[in-house]
Subunit: 356 residues, 2 copies
C-alpha cells in the first residue's frame, strides 16, 4: 500500500475497499451484537487485521463500537471499555493513523455521548500469519480485503511466463502452487487467531475472492491480466526486461467460498455462522444510477486504486523508473475495457465463532 | 523530539537518556522481579510511557523481559507471554520503531532461547496525562525522562520576560505557576495509572529533576538559561523579535524528590518502595576516565542532544529560519562553559507499588 495522504496514496484511493466494508458491515454488526449479548465483557477487545491507513482504518471499528453502545443503552447496561488493536505490516503508515486519532476520538465521543465507555487504541505491527496477541485476549477480529494477500509469492512459479498472476494460460502447476500457499497461509491464520480469541469469540473476514470454482476465472484474474498486458507491451518495446517480467508474480490468492469453508473445517477451531458472496464494481464511483465524470473516467479511478495497492510491489521488483509509464498504459487499457463491459470484484465474507 | 534516524534525530542523539536508563535499571529490575514473584501472571503486560523512537525504545523493555525469563528458568516455571505497550504522543515517530521491530524480535528470541514466552508489541499513541489502557490491564509501568514534560506551558507566565524557563531572575508567581502545573499533571498521571494497574502492580519513574529544594537552582535551570542566552543575543541583534522571546517558555518541571513524594502521598493509590537521586554528565561521552575528542567536543554533543529534544518546540514558536543559528550559538556557549565547570543532570527515580 502507498502511505501518506497524497494523490497516489492508499488513503486517497480506497473507495472500493470502503464500499466493501459498508456492504459487509451488517454481518460484522450482527456478529458483534451476538458476541456482546452472550459474553458481556467489561472490557471488549477488538482487532482489525490489515487496517492499512486512511479513512477506512477507523470506519468499521467506529461502527462496531456504536452498535455495542446502542445495545447497552437498550439493555440498560453500562457500556464496556473498548480496546481496539489496529494491525498491519511493520511498513504500514501508522504515523498517519496515529496523528488522526485525537480528532477521531473527539468526534466519536461527541457522537456517542458521555455514557459511552472509553476507547483505547493501539497499533500492532506484524504479519497476521503469525501470533500477534496474547492467549485468549481478543473478543472480536475483523479483516477486510487483507487475507487475499499471501505471506509470500508461492515457490515454483518459473513456468508462469508472460503472466503476473494466475491466468487462463498458466500451467496447472502454477495454479496448484498458488492454492497450496493459500491453504498453508489461511490455515496458519486460523490457528493463530484460535489461540488469541476467547471461547465464543467472533471473527468476520472478507476476502477479495471469486464465486467460480475455476481459480483462473476471469472474475478474479482479469484485473491483473490487464496489468500484465501493459507490462508485456513495455517488454515488446524494450522498456522492461523480459526476464524481469517473467519472474514477477503477485502474492495474492482470491479464494472461492468453498475453498474458504474447506480450510475452516479442516483447521477445526471455528464454526461457520455465515458464508456469503457479494460484488462491487471495479469503478467504485459507478453505482449504476448515474453517469457523472467519475463514472466515465472509470479507467482513471481503477488505475489509481490499483496503483495505491500494487505500486510498492512493482517498485521493489522493477525499480521506480517504469511506474508512471506502466500506470499510464494500464489506465488506457482499463478505460477501453470499462467502456465495453461491466467488471466487478467478488467478495467472499465468512463469519466465524470460536469453539470451546 | 526529532523523528527519523538522521543527524539531528532523537534516535541519533539520546546517549544521555540511555545512560540514565542504564543507571536506574537495577531499580526497575528489582521491581519487576518482586512483581513477578508475587503475582506470576501467565501474560505479563508492561507499558513504557514516553518511549520516543530510537535505540532507547527497546533497551529497557528487553532487559526487563530478560530478567523475568531468567527468574522463570531459576524457579523452574514456564516463561509468561509478554505484552509490551510502547506509548508516546501521537506525533512520535512510531513508523521508525515498527520498522525496526522484526529485527529486534529476532535478536531477542536468539538471545533468550526457545523456552522464552512470545513477545507481543504494540504502539499506544496518546498523552500519559489521560487514560491509555483498560482498567486493571497492566502489571508494570516504566517511564524515563518523560514525566518532567508538562501537559502544557503553565498559564500566567507573562512576567517571565527574558527567560524561557524557571530562572533565578523569575518572579515568584512564575515559579508557583510551574509548580502548580506539575502538581496537577503528576497527580492526574498517578490516578490514571492507578486505574490501569492491577493491585500489587509496579511503576518505576525517572524524572529529569533536581536535588535542591530551590526550584530555580542552577542544577536544573542552567541548561535552559544558556539556551536563553543564545536567544537573547539574537534578540539584541534584531534576529529574533523580543515579543516572541518573552512569550516563549519550556513546558517542563524538574521536581525534587520531596515534591515527587508529596504528590504520591496526596494521591494515595501507591506506596513508595524506593526514592533515589542520581547524576549524569551533560556530556554523556564524558565518563570522567578519558579525554577523547568526544569529551573535548562536549558543547557539540550537548547542543545536539538538546536540539534533538527541543527543536520541535522552538520551530512551532519561532519558525524554522532561526534554528541553525540558535544551535550554533548554543553550542559555542556550552563549549565555553563545559571547559570551565562540570555540569550534571539530576535524576529523581521513584519505585511505586499499587495499593489494594
Amino acid at each position: 500500500m502507498n502511505g501518506g495522504m497524497g494523490d497516489t496514496s492508499y488513503a486517497s484511493n480506497s473507495l472500493v475497499q470502503q464500499k466493501v466494508i459498508s456492504m459487509t458491515k451488517p454481518i460484522a454488526e450482527e456478529a458483534i451484537s451476538n458476541l456482546y449479548c452472550s459474553t458481556s465483557p467489561s472490557s471488549l477487545a477488538i482487532a482489525d487485521l490489515g487496517c492499512s491507513s486512511g479513512p477506512n482504518t477507523f470506519f468499521l471499528v467506529s461502527e462496531l463500537i456504536e452498535v455495542v453502545d446502542k445495545l447497552c443503552r437498550n439493555l440498560g447496561r453500562q457500556s464496556p471499555e473498548y480496546q481496539v488493536f489496529l494491525n498491519d505490516l511493520p511498513g504500514n503508515d501508522f504515523n498517519t493513523i496515529f496523528k488522526s486519532l485525537p480528532s477521531f476520538l473527539k468526534r466519536m465521543s461527541q457522537q456517542l455521548g458521555p455514557d459511552s465507555g472509553p476507547c483505547f487504541f493501539s497499533g500492532v505491527p506484524g504479519s497476521f500469519y503469525g501470533r500477534l496477541f496474547p492467549t485468549k485476549s481478543l473478543h472480536f477480529v475483523h479483516s477486510s480485503y487483507g487475507l487475499q494477500w499471501l505471506s509470500q509469492v508461492p515457490e515454483a512459479l518459473e513456468s508462469n511466463k508472460g503472466n503476473i498472476y494466475m491466468a487462463s494460460s498458466s500451467p496447472p502447476g502454477v495454479l496448484r502452487a498458488y492454492y497450496e500457499q493459500f491453504q498453508r497461509d489461511f490455515s496458519m491464520f486460523l490457528s493463530c487467531r484460535a489461540e488469541e480469541l476467547v471461547t465464543g469469540g467472533r471473527m468476520v473476514l472478507t476476502f477479495l475472492g471469486r464465486s467460480s470454482e475455476d481459480p483462473s476465472s476471469k472474475e478474479c484474474c482479469y484485473i491483473w491480466e490487464l496489468l500484465a498486458l501493459a507490462l508485456n507491451d513495455m517488454v515488446s518495446e524494450g522498456l522492461v526486461e523480459e526476464e524481469k517480467m517473467d519472474s514477477f508474480n503477485i502474492p495474492q490468492y482470491t479464494p472461492s467460498p468453498s475453498e474458504v469453508k474447506s480450510e475452516v473445517v479442516k483447521e477445526g477451531s471455528f464454526s461457520i455462522d455465515h458464508l456469503e458472496v457479494s460484488e462491487v464494481n471495479w469503478n467504485a464511483y459507478d453505482s449504476g444510477f448515474n453517469s457523472s465524470d467519475a463514472v466515465s473516467d472509470g479507467g482513471y479511478n481503477v488505475a489509481k486504486c490499483m496503483r495505491a495497492v500494487a505500486e510498492p510491489l512493482l517498485i521493489s521488483h522493477f525499480g521506480d523508473a517504469i511506474i508512471e509509464e506502466v500506470f499510464r498504459r494500464y489506465k488506457e487499457i482499463l478505460s477501453d475495457r470499462l467502456s465495453k463491459e461491466k467488471t466487478r470484484f467478488i467478495n467472499v465474507t465468512v463469519s466465524l465463532i470460536k469453539r470451546e
